[in-house]
Amino acid sequence: MTRDELNAYRLIKEAQEAEALLQSRRHFLKESAMGLGALAMGSLLGGCGNFFSSPQTKIAYDPAHPLLAKSPPFVGKAKSVIYLHMAGAPSQLELFDFKPELMKMDGQDCPPSLLAGKKFAFITGVPKMLGPQATFAKHGQSGALVSDNLPHFSTMVDEVSFLKAVKTDQFNHAPAQLLVHTGSPRLGRPSMGSWVTYGLGSENQNLPGYVVLTSGGSFPDAGKSVWGSGFLPSVYQGVQCRSEGDPVLFIKDPDGMNRDLRKASIEAINKANEQQYQEYNDPEILSRIAQYEMAYRMQISAPEVMNINDEPAYIHEMYGTQPGKACFANNVLLARKLVEKGVRYVQLFDWGWDAHGDSPGNSLNIGLKNKCRSIDRPITALLLDLKQRGLLEETLVVWGGEFGRTPMMENRNGIQNPFKGRDHHTEAFTIWMAGGGIKKGFTHGETDEIGYSAISGKVDAFDIQATILNQLGFDHEQFTYPFQGRPFRLTDVAGKVISEIVA
């Protein structure tokens, strides 16, 4: 069955309800004013797995209300996700994975055993080993090692679980980012946020359920496909919100049009569309009516939530925001506001972590330190702020990149790079998670003495996806969507919940 067919198949089943709803709907605004009413409707329409005998998790998809909140198949600990992606891939060796042995090897030729049969994005010939370019210390009760690049964050280690032996098989940015977020290095699969909003809907009908915020001056290398909906209905694609200009493109009414007029105009459009539906009987028209209603509600809610100016000074101070700018700190604060409002999945991308050593901005001693400075306070504030609001327990925070960096100093065509930098590395890197039912002050996985390979507790993108879904109440093996003749799932044919870090 194709997507269109499937959507419509479900639509037929729910046609009666939808029509009844249409008949009874006098003013859609009434409905939106009564958020509870909408939720009750959700429980009516959006039943979950227990309605079906099949083991696979069936998601009731209501095309007229595609984002109504739904319950997961089992009770999840997390209700929402904030995923902080450092695009370009930060060096684990300068942040979390301290390797004194590597320091001893600094400047030596890389042993041939580390190069035989390996592929690197840039390194050719025999590179030199490069010792850690940061100072490490143990922190907190858990004694986690964090470098002096993240002085604020090091006070939070007792809140997080570190995964120190993450592996990938993609050594270029775009495919590696796609793998992390869509489960496939190629274009066309739904992103994790799409899966999650498809499965759970959103707690807030007046905002997109899946919001994407970017900083660092560029989009991630893989472009907008890392928040695409693939073969899922496109309403589940990530909506990019901006802290500069209109928070969502075209969200602002034209100059001179007040809200009453906009309301009147959307009501007129939808009334005419209902007439059109009476004539043509095409369910797609009902869907359009629903989209116009949502557009209207979004117009009110999005600018409100995207405005950080009303936050108290101490919050600004804590996050280190720069009002009026598109920066990571602002985005992190926005992420907190969004999950507080019931947005299901907030995806941040911060560009500029690709410390090859080919320029000062891309070096471990200058560029990386600056990037760390720009995230250190915000990520710390996020955990503290969520905690003080009682939200950390139900919000899963994930931090990481798309791969790691080599223990070798990068060369290009055999020529040493002008600055200290490391090449892309697939064998081991660090990701951390916090909140949402994840163990506190815990470290899972270990790399060898120079941080080249994972030696225990190895995990990959699929395991992390499986764990995120698990925290939200899904069995990743059962959570599927039929497409091109077979059920697809986020984790494809792989993935295992990392039970070691589940509290």
């Binding site: 194709t2 309403v235 969200i251 009414d253 001179g256 105009s265 091109q484």
Partner: protein, 912 residues
Amino acid sequence: MLSKRKILFASGFALIAICLIAFSLFSAEKEIDFNSQVKPILNKKCITCHGGVKQQGGFSVLFREEALANTKSGKPAIIPGNPDSSEFIKRIKSDDPEERMPYKHPALNNDEIDILSTWVKQGAKWGNHWAYVSVKPTEVPEVDNDWVRNDLDKFIFAKLEENKLTPSKTADKATLLRRVSLDLIGTYPSEKLAKFYLNTKDEQKAYEVLVDSLLTSPKFGERWATMWLDIARYADTKGYESDPNRNIWSYRDWVIKAYNKDMPYNQFITDQIAGDLFPNPSDEQYIATAFSRNTSTNDEGGTNNEEFRTAAVLDRVNATWEGLMSTTFSCVQCHAHPYDPFKHDEYYKFMSYFNNTRDEDVSAEYPLFKKFNDSLQNQFNNLISWVKTVSGKERADQMSLFLKTGQPAINSTTADEMVNSVIGNHNIALYFKNNSAARLKGVNLEGVDQLILRYNCTKPNGTMSLHLGSPNGPLIKSWKADVTKGNQNISIDFAKQSGVKDVYLKYTNASVKNPDEFMVYFDWFYFTKQFPGVGKPDYISYKKTFIDLMNVQVPTTPIMVENPESMRRKNYVFVRGAWTSKGKEVNVGVPKSLAFAMPKNAPNNRMGLAMWLTDKRNPLVSRTMVNRLWEQLYGAGLVETLEDMGTQGMAPTHQELLDFMAYQLMYKYNWSIKKMLKEMVMMATYRQDSKVTEELKEKDLFNKFYARGSRIRLSAEQLRDQSLAVCGVLSTKMYGPPVMPWQPEGIWFSPYNGDKWRLSAGEDKYRRGIYTYWKRTAPYPSAIAFDGASRIVCSPRRIRTNTPLQALVTLNDSVYVDLARKLALRMEKVGGSTSTSKISKGYELILYKPIPQNRLKVFEDLYTKAFASFKKDGASASAFMGDKQKKYKPEEAALVLVANAMLNLDEVITKN
């Protein structure tokens, strides 16, 4: 062994008895059809573990020879004629969960087991997938019904009857006018044509006139080129991280013109794949090859040109298969196709066709085609014919190629063995410091006595020299390197050389003290012969013409130019698809499963490839195109998966019709797209009303049987072009550089790129969507909201979506607010004196029909509310009208508000 044989022997009688019974049971059974019965089971249940990717237990069911071969156990799993001793059948029947296949998945049902057993019994014959068999004439179903208007309808009608469905009546004229206009020209026709059609009594005749007129409209080419540019992944930028500008719009114009002059589809493909390989390619044929130059190129510092050149070549392979042949060939890059009969090395054989061109991912995008204006072209023609007379055709052809394309030149980025020199950023150009040297490897010097090089020398008094074989090898020539004005083309003459040799380039400058300073920057090297005809009349003036034409600044377009023999690349299989791990060497070729005997004169290059693609025996090219044309009209292809007609694609709803049309396209219409389209839109099927009856909602909600017209949301371009037309501002200007209509701030955010969106002036703000500047990493936002393709790679199909963000575009995008004002002006001007008559007129301008009473009521109410509001607040009326300084009547603003709402109606955004 002996004992086993005994047992076998002993049980022989019993076996024979069983076989006899079985035979009597099965003999009555119909022959199992591999394609429709067996292949679907294999694809669904077996092939993920036993196919092109994985071969668990050494067993694969992709090809017959693999399926019948010995497995890891040393024995074959399928023994044709003998299901009972075939491990394949035993395993699917087994009760032991460790044995039973599919492993750890639900067992096959009895029907499936029966089909597979019978199939093995009948000899395990393989079949060819329908789409991989050449198109043959198809019999038209016998249909006796007045509804049918042409042969195509008969296929549709027969299927409707089979499914006990009846077709819908013809749509009303207004609906049909709008439908066929949006389909054929992507916007509205001239008022005159619309009036003619609406006012002519004889609908049948008027419709045909309408169709013929639309087909001859220049707007036709713009609309169909839009479709093709998704296949060609045309964009105005280079892609990847910094995504800078690329001038390749003359390719877009070529496509528009090709559609407008109804270039036969086989020629259309040939020119694009291999236009440069014709004996004397026309300018247009060169520009057509930009089809393959629409690949992304990467200028990012430190990237490897060869890596991204290779990526572009791979992309050409994938685009050719997905776009022209509905096949997901890219799977085969890394392994044999998991489902379809294509082998791993066949990918690389096919890739070899594209792997021999001069483009090398350099940032200047060489080779570039130089477009001369008429006067330059005249000079060029005279020069070339003079050279032909004094020096022969070969020399004239060489010179012509060099002047038009700058080829075959050696890019300085390919230099190696560098001393005191680097390739800037690893990929920009060869930079020299003082006392420097570099090698140009394997240069063809046969008969060469001149080097033309393009370089930028920033210091006076240096000496440049060329040596053979080694840096201190025999001197070819040394010369004083002067300061140039930026990059300059310089000719150096020397004694005649021979053979293929390494050439070393050296530079030294006694006057420069700083050893770290770069001072010479090379672009390219062209080894050639001195200008011919010394002593002949006009030698001096023609030599000057040559130099002038070489240096002239004219518009350029990236194109394909084949490597000369001495630069031919070798081709290898990439192990697991990685370009860095080269496997065995291969030569050009098409997959065996789709091969047929090519004519003797078919060359082993892109021209030979084009001949294979456009050969009437090629099973995929014609089918793919008619399927695509159908999809454009009906919203879904007869094979819905336009990207995949293989065994994993959707099955065709009307395979006979698809084949019939493919045959017609080639044999009846000689590849004419216009004739094919006319046949399609003349169908009764096409002209049906699109209302969904309760019966159809239940029986055929997706309209797969075509018992009604299709209702399809307009494409991004149709929506823009329709809106511009109904608001009376659509520019008729065609061709030229892309334009920048209004877009919000902050959309362009590529790394390392300072380019800005600069709002176009005048009518360029109101050009058709096809002319909007397309930046790959930050495409025009309203077009993307309506599912425009990102054009990074070939997009064989746009999936339509329905989201609130689309509503926000047509409600609030300044472009649409501006258009609402323009529409209101028209309503004001031609809509009579009352608000009611103006509103009615607006609706009619958009939809060609009178407004229904209930709609009129809705908009009158809206108008009244808006009027009251703007009357109360004159300032907001001014703001709403876009000029805060000016006073507007509340009537004017209220009408704009109504116009804005009307442009948002479902019936306006949708093609009914």
